[in-house]
């Protein structure tokens, strides 16, 4: 699979077609749900005021555009059948979608963690774990990560005053320290 963000349209054609099939399926399903998902509001309403009008137009265009893309991709596959190598790579490409999901799982854990251990500590652990996970394991990277977390606190919590919910762990501290932690960290 070509790296996203690099030059050249190197995406696997079978993977691209599968993606378009998914998009076409979702958009088609949403269009079929139009009646159920948009309440008419008033049976006697004029056509241009009906709540379903705007989503109907948007979804119709979406379905047509998706099927046009699909038709183009299928035509291309018919004109130039995929090679054995391209077929073999297609599965790797699909599993490649799991790579960002892994990072999003860490991200979800980060969201959960800052509500329990606080923003600063949560960020520090998250940044350190990500650095470890992506292979930046020298001491200097962790140091830079810590500097970044301090800067984060300085700019957003202390500078811009972004409020965060008080985590349970701060209850373990004396009142004065707890207040400071809630306010700044």
């Amino acid at each position: 699979m070509s790296e996203p963000g690099t030059e050249g349209d190197g995406a696997n054609r079978l993977e691209s077609t599968a993606l378009t099939v998914i998009f076409a399926g979702i958009s088609g399903t949403l269009l079929l749900l139009l009646g159920a998902a948009t309440k008419s509001g008033s049976a006697g309403a004029d056509w241009w005021t009906r709540p379903a009008f705007a989503p109907a137009v948007a979804l119709s265009v979406l379905v047509v555009a998706n099927f046009l893309t699909l038709w183009r991709e299928l035509s291309d596959l018919r004109a130039r059948p995929p090679s054995v190598q391209e077929r073999a790579e297609a599965w790797d490409c699909f599993t490649g979608w799991l790579r960002p999901v892994e990072f999003l799982a860490y991200y979800a854990a980060y969201v959960w963690a800052i509500q329990h251990v606080g923003y600063f500590l949560g960020s520090l652990v998250f940044v350190s774990w990500l650095l470890f996970r992506v292979g930046l394991r020298q001491r200097r990277w962790f140091l830079w990560g810590a500097v970044f977390c301090v800067a984060l606190i300085g700019i957003f919590r202390m500078g811009l005053g972004v409020w965060m919910p008080a985590p349970a762990v701060y209850d373990l501290f004396p009142d004065a320290a707890r207040t400071a932690l809630i306010r700044w960290f």
Binding site: E3, L33, A52, V61, A65, L104, Y110, L130
Partner: protein, 500 residues
């Protein structure tokens, strides 16, 4: 005169001046870091500006926008890696300069043409916005609906080689805008009984997901090492005067940049391509383009920097954003109840005048900063991509959360982040999603008002002169595009819009 004086008073406000400097310097730095860029930074900063005065917030974001346009040239020249897609042509033209040991000359050409393009575009903004707003005073709902529709048509037409995907992305954005409570009958659309969807899809989590989280995921999963930066040699001021030897390329490309900025949905990438193709055709040294022609760098950078102020013209005068970054900035207006459009010049003249002056001064600040800091910024451009991914992902959480102090928004951002990653990895454009999302409510409301006022008669759009002209122009554009597609379908397109 009083109007301009009012603007100078705004600029003299230390908080405005400070945010301008911070925004401009930050913009240059992030513009120079491949993978960071204006879209990522503005999306993360957006919620932080909601608590600022409108002019401060806009100045900060515009500083990032304009600074990034300058900064993207640094890695293009010094490490032959464009800081953003719009610096691809600069990288192409600068490489032979670097090979000849004239990196500093290339850098000077890039800076000076950026400066001229940027300043001319701000002057155009000052001269054209109010007259356009005066014309817009005569606009009714039919005209506004057609302006919005024209913008959407331009978005699709502008994505040469990816029009079907751009149409799908645009329609998806339009659909997203319809989710939530529908105002006319207070009924729900596509909420599926989920309470967090009743308010609709929030702009900030969507923007951060599509532009910042997806970028972070790309950087985190990317492989490959950075190249070392070249050392600058030669006379720095050589190129500063040299640009005026190529007046036609300089002023012509600036004019194209301004024009394309004004046209909603066109954006800097297409503007640059059009400028480059035209300059190559009309230049006496057209054969040197792509082989280190000074005009190539001038055209690329002047156009690139003329677009941001140009894109502000339709936003301030009509309330129609020109491209994705001004669409994000529209949120700052809405949060502060500043309504862009013809009434803005009557209701908030100090805001508009202040914006003009800060934009003008911003170009001076940026060029002064670049004169002293180019080598240092070039080192920042070499930041490890995976480390950058970690930074962006961490920043995106506070950016999303700070918009509404709601952790459920982070979930929305994650969904859009994954979607953005998948779409970008398949070269589907993201910008049309945002433009469709922002323009959808404008189009729907104005369409309803216009058709409702005509009792359902659709000929209202051709019965009014300005609206009729727009309908005719759109029809002509669609026909010409279709003819062009039929003619060239057996040949690959000269260029493809790849704003991802």
């Amino acid at each position: 005169m009083d109007f301009l004086w009012l603007g100078l008073q705004q600029l003299a406000d230390p908080s405005v001046f400070l945010t301008m400097c911070i925004g401009a310097i930050l913009g240059v730095i992030v513009g120079a870091i491949p993978g960071a860029g204006a879209a990522v930074t503005i999306s993360i900063l957006l919620p932080s500006t909601f608590g600022m005065e409108p002019l401060n917030g806009m100045t900060l974001l515009l500083g990032v926008y304009c600074g990034a346009a300058y900064g993207s040239a640094i890695p293009a020249v010094m490490i032959n890696t464009p800081g953003s897609p719009v610096a691809v042509l600069t990288a192409l033209e600068a490489k032979p300069f670097v090979d000849r040991g004239e990196a500093r000359r290339a850098m000077s050409l890039a800076y000076s043409s950026s400066f001229v393009g940027g300043v001319l575009a701000v002057l155009a903004l000052m001269l054209l916005t109010q007259p356009l707003a005066n014309i817009a005073k005569n606009f009714g709902s039919a005209e506004f609906a057609m302006v919005a529709l024209a913008a959407l048509v331009l978005v699709i037409v502008g994505h040469n080689g990816r029009r079907a995907e751009a149409t799908a992305a645009l329609a998806f954005g339009l659909f997203l805008a319809t989710i939530g409570i529908e105002t006319a009958f207070s009924t729900q659309r596509y909420t599926f009984g989920l309470s967090f969807l009743q308010q609709g899809v929030a702009l900030v989590p969507m923007v951060i997901g599509l532009f910042a989280i997806s970028e972070a995921l790309i950087q985190l999963t990317a492989r490959g090492a950075s190249q070392p930066a070249v050392q600058l040699k030669g006379h720095f001021f050589q190129g500063f005067m040299e640009v005026f030897r190529y007046k036609r390329a300089l002023y012509g490309s600036s004019a194209i940049g301004i024009l394309c900025g004004i046209m909603p949905g066109v954006g800097e990438f297409l503007a640059q391509q059009v400028s480059y193709v035209m300059a190559k055709r009309f230049s006496k040294e057209g054969h040197l383009f792509g082989k280190g022609a000074p005009e190539g760098i001038i055209v690329s950078e002047a156009t690139n920097n003329a677009v941001p102020p140009g894109a502000l013209i339709p936003m301030l005068a009509l309330g129609i954003p020109g491209e994705e970054l001004t669409a994000m900035m529209l949120a700052v207006f809405l949060v502060h109840n500043v309504i862009p459009g013809p009434s803005l010049f009557i209701d908030r003249p100090e805001f508009v005048a202040g914006l003009y002056w800060t934009l003008l001064m911003m170009n001076v600040i940026i060029i002064l900063f670049l004169l002293v800091a180019t080598n240092a910024i070039a080192r920042a451009a070499l930041i490890n991509k995976r480390f950058l991914g970690v930074l962006i992902l961490t920043l995106s959480l506070i950016g999303t959360y700070a918009s509404a102090y709601n952790f459920s928004d982070v979930g929305v951002a994650m969904v859009f982040g994954l979607l953005g990653y998948i779409l970008r990895s398949h070269r589907w454009p993201l910008t049309p999603i945002l433009l469709g999302f922002v323009m959808g409510p404008i189009l729907e409301n104005r369409f309803r008002q216009a058709v409702g006022g005509a009792d359902g008669d659709l000929t209202i759009f051709v019965a009014r002169p300005i609206s009729a002209i727009m309908v005719a122009a759109m029809a002509l554009l669609i026909v010409l595009t279709f003819c062009g597609w039929l003619k060239g379908r057996r040949q690959p397109p000269a260029f493809q819009i790849n704003d991802t």
